[in-house]
């Protein structure tokens, strides 16, 4: 179309006024009301969304929002009351189904209604601060259906009944229940809590209280725990399937309290099946279950730990004081290691490697191992046994494992200096008799001890190894410079540095002539290269291999101690000798001589000598003969023994005395060190500091510390403060 014709369009104002139809509001409302009815009656398909929307829009526009809103409220309320009625009449099972169905319907209807009334929702409602349509729908549902007197309690009762039935093993409709619960959650923050959760928890508490009482009367601990665990898992499952997730913590707390917390002590202490029995029988599964259940409850784990600790201490105490066990040191230590392994395994498998349990185990072991004063000695004997023969043929890794176990026990000892003393003694015997199974193992243990206790602890021990090596070299040098001695008896000398080796007083005895000339030659050789030193022969520690021809032609090679050698050699010149004659010739001290003769004449299979009379003990008027009837299946017969043994009572006392004596200067040194740096210190603090400093070696006795302090006061290293006699002052 071209713009040839130009016509001015004019828009004229309305000539007449627009008049609102007075009945407009009512008419429009009726339409809407009708629509709502249809919607609730599932007849929404015949409605025009556009038309209804427009009607609602117009009403609001023409300021009839109020009418619309109140109409909505009234209509919806009426419908909901109908719904409530229909729900109330539902019987039994169908009650919940009916609610569920009606609820779904209502939601659908609400959706549609809200869509229709969208304009009002967005304009009229916010400006008048009225409840929005959707929320209004929920509130009305809540007030008219759920809170209806007939429905409210019945709903709760049925829900709780469902739960109860499920707890007794029946199958219920979980989906339906979930929907109902969801409905409650949708209806408002506190509706679920009030209408269901609160009562649910109360009822559950009662239920479990009763059930736990029943179980505990008839089940043993393990069974009970299984049941408790099962119930706990069921409840968690229940929450996951049809309750609100926030209920989980609450319901588990209920179960924990009723089934576990309230019966904790009874379970632990149950006769024949409680914690102690489980520990003894290594019931890993039951223990694990107990651990997992009890850790949910306050103090649960600490109770378990308490009982376990006292049990370990008790049984440990029995172990270390049982005289039967104490007969064999190696067995004793093996038993300790077994105990430790057992509990390590339990803590690993059942207690989740819980550190606090580890600590409890360690402190218990420390407690009872130190109850027996001989523990340090026995552990050293165990090590001795291992290093002599126990570790023969064992792989390097396994050797390390065993030594680490030894170190673990060593750490528990409070009197480490006692262990050191015994270890030194036993090591000396091992080295001198050449009986150590592996040099590497010895050194490895030494390194471990050094790491644990510092250089001081092991410096002397290392000196011992050094001496052995040096002696080898010395012997080589001796024989290469005296080739003429090649045909004579072979001498092997170990030169021991006095400070490093355990001292034993040795009275000299008369060596046979051949031996003593050889020894003299060695002495001059040695002193030739090491002037200023003094050598003293330790005749109580040596050994000899001698070839013997007996009367009936038997030839044997005898491995004997030096003393035994002296005694036997005397019989080269005489057939019969009295005790006194032997004593005279050999100059061996009486007690040693008696023991020596005993070992030569009174031990079956080793009786190279014969004694008259044939009594059990050696008396000073006995006589001795070479036993021409001596026989042994072996060519080489071992008679001398320098094996480390458990000490006899007097020896034990002596060692302990020596240890006590050694401790005195250590305590004094600690006191002087501390006072020198502090200048002035009160008694209690001084004792505490001293004890702390000496902890790595031994447990200082406060009375002994006090005595040392007094001794130092007397020798004027310290003085008491004039004004406050609790304080000590260092005197430079």
């Amino acid at each position: 179309m071209s713009n040839q014709k130009k016509r001015n369009f004019q828009i004229e104002a309305f000539k007449h006024r627009v008049v609102m139809d007075p009945k407009y509001a009512d008419k429009t409302w009726n339409i809407l009301e009708h629509a709502i009815h249809e919607i609730y009656n599932h007849n929404a398909s015949g409605l025009s969304f556009e038309e209804l929307y427009r009607n609602a829009y117009n009403m609001v526009l023409h300021k009839f929002g109020e009418r619309l809103y109140s109409g909505l409220v009234t209509t919806m309320t009426a419908h909901l009351k109908d719904i409530a009625n229909s729900v109330e009449t539902a019987q039994g099972e169908s009650f919940l189904e009916e609610i569920n169905r009606k609820w779904n319907d209502h939601n659908r209807a609400l959706q549609m209604i809200r869509d229709i009334l969208m304009y009002m929702d967005r304009t009229y409602i916010p400006s008048t601060h009225k409840t929005p349509v959707h929320e209004l729908g929920l509130n009305l549902w809540r007030e008219n259906v759920i809170y209806s007197s007939q429905i409210r309690t019945r709903l709760l009762t049925i829900l709780l009944d469902f739960v109860q039935r499920e707890r007794t093993g029946e199958v219920i409709d979980r989906g339906l229940t979930r929907n109902i619960i969801k409905m409650l959650l949708d209806l408002g923050p506190s509706v679920y809590a009030q209408e269901f959760e609160g009562p649910f928890l109360r009822v559950s508490a009662e239920f479990y209280s009763v059930e736990s009482q029943k179980f505990i009367e008839c089940c043993d601990c393990g069974e009970y725990l299984k049941k408790a665990e099962k119930r706990l898992n069921e409840e968690i499952d229940r929450v996951n399937h049809y309750l609100d997730s926030r209920t989980e913590k609450k319901i588990t707390n209920v179960v924990e309290k009723e089934m576990i917390e309230d019966h904790m002590l009874r379970l632990i202490n149950m006769e024949n099946s409680g914690l102690v029995n489980m520990l003894c029988d290594d019931k890993y599964e039951d223990l694990g279950r107990m651990y997992n259940l009890f850790r949910r409850v306050t103090d649960g784990l600490s109770k378990i730990r308490e009982v376990m600790t006292s049990h370990i201490r008790e049984s440990g105490k029995v172990l270390v004081t049982d005289p039967e066990r104490l007969k064999d040191p190696v067995e004793f230590v093996n038993r300790l290691l077994d105990e430790k392994d057992k509990y390590d395994k339990i803590i690993n498998l059942a207690f989740n490697n819980d550190k606090s349990f580890q600590n409890a185990l360690n402190s218990s072991f420390e407690y009872f191992i130190n109850l027996n004063q001989r523990s340090p000695e026995y552990i050293s004997l165990f090590v001795d046994d291992k290093l002599r023969k126990g570790l023969k043929g064992v792989s390097e890794d396994d050797v390390e494992i065993t030594l680490d176990k030894v170190m673990m026990l060593f750490r528990y000892l409070q009197e480490k200096d006692v262990f050191e003393k015994y270890y030194k003694q036993h090591l000396a015997k091992r080295l001198l008799s050449g009986k150590t199974v592996s040099d590497d193992a010895e050194r490895s243990l030494l390194v471990k001890l050094k790491t644990e206790c510092g250089y001081q602890f092991t410096s002397k021990l290392e000196g011992m190894f050094m001496d052995m090596k040096t002696s080898e070299d010395t012997m080589q040098g001796f024989y290469s410079s005296h080739p003429e001695l090649g045909d004579g008896p072979t001498l092997t000398v170990q030169v021991l540095t006095t400070g490093s080796w355990p001292t034993q007083p040795s009275a000299p005895c008369n060596l046979p002539a051949e031996v003593s000339t050889l020894c003299e030659k060695f002495r001059s050789y040695y002193l030739g290269t090491h002037t200023g030193r003094r050598l003293s022969w330790q005749t109580n520690m040596g050994s000899a291999d001698i070839k013997a021809n007996f009367g009936k032609g038997q030839k044997h090679e005898l491995n004997v101690s030096t003393y035994q050698m002296c005694v036997l050699m005397v019989f080269n010149d005489a057939d019969r000798l009295s005790y006194k004659e032997i004593e005279q010739a050999t100059q061996i001290p009486a007690s040693d001589l008696k023991r020596c003769l005993q070992s030569l004449a009174l031990v079956k299979g080793r009786n190279v000598l014969r004694k008259e009379p044939m009594s059990k003990d050696v008396a000073e008027d006995d006589s001795f003969f070479v036993n021409d009837k001596f026989s042994s299946k072996l060519y080489k017969v071992k008679i001398g023994t320098i094996v480390a043994q458990k000490e006899s009572e007097p020896e034990k006392l002596e060692t302990r005395q020596r240890v006590e004596e050694d401790r005195k200067p250590q305590i004094e040194a600690a006191i002087v060190r501390i006072m020198k740096s502090r200048k002035c210190l009160d008694h209690n603090n001084l004792v505490a500091e001293v004890t702390k400093q000496l902890q790595t070696r031994f447990l200082a006795n406060p009375t002994e510390v006090k005595k040392r302090i007094e001794s130092l006061i007397e020798r004027e290293f310290l003085e008491r403060d004039e004004s406050d006699r609790k304080f000590y002052r260092y005197l430079a």
Binding site: D682, N684, V687, E714, R715, R720, K726, Y728
Partner: protein, 223 residues
């Protein structure tokens, strides 16, 4: 570090009644009187009063020579050797007491123990009493028997029952054959601070010497 043992307690002014220095003439006169008194008892050959002289002195003073007052007299003199009073010591003692004649000396000696208690110097005297018993140069402790006697003399008057108990203990125990100065010092404090009726106040973790710990254990067992 051994040190020469301190033989003398720190000197402290005791019963010095005359603080003002006397005029020379009278002092010389006093000294002379004191010297003459000295000569009465002294053994000329050693120029000191010897045990015999002391016995004579004691009988003149009407005081038994095992009485604490004689020991206190020795203390005022700072006497070094038991059983002997040198001239200097004699002069010192008499000047300290402010006397120069026998009657005056007698009077002073009779009241000496009260004076010492009053003036608060008992502890000093107590320490002296121990040191007075050290015979040898390097001796640091005194044997049990002498200690018991000493206890009796020195502390007996003040604490009769306690002293008896302690003496009994010391004689029956075998841990200690002698007592040193530190232990001796603690006895007096012990008697003053701990009540024997109720030994609960005694705490062995305090700095009491071990000998007293053992004594208290012994007492407790007896009950």
């Amino acid at each position: 570090m051994p040190r020469p043992s301190k033989r003398k307690a720190a000197p402290s002014a005791v019963v010095d009644l005359s603080a003002t220095p006397a005029p020379k003439k009278s002092r010389t006169k006093q000294t002379n009187k004191a010297d003459r008194l000295f000569d009465k008892y002294a053994n000329k050959s050693i120029d000191s009063i010897d045990p015999a002289g002391i016995e004579l002195l004691c009988s003149d003073l009407r005081v038994p020579h095992t009485d604490i007052k004689i020991l206190m007299l020795a203390w005022t003199m700072r006497s070094e050797k038991q059983g002997y009073f040198s001239k200097d010591e004699w002069r010192r003692g008499l000047k300290c007491l402010g006397v120069d004649t026998l009657p005056k000396l007698k009077k002073a000696v009779i009241g000496l123990d009260k004076e010492v208690m009053k003036s608060g110097c008992f502890e000093d005297f107590y320490k002296f009493a121990f040191q007075y018993c050290l015979m040898e140069a390097k001796q640091r402790s005194v044997d049990i028997e002498t200690i018991c006697e000493l206890l009796n003399i020195v502390l007996g008057p003040q604490f009769p029952t306690q002293v008896n108990l302690l003496m009994e203990y010391l004689k029956t125990q075998s841990d200690y054959r002698a007592i040193n100065l530190d232990q001796w010092g603690s006895f007096y404090r012990f008697f003053r601070e701990v009540r024997f009726s109720d030994l609960k106040s005694y705490d062995s973790s305090q700095a009491w010497p071990v000998v007293l710990d053992s004594f208290v254990d012994w007492l407790r067992e007896r009950k």
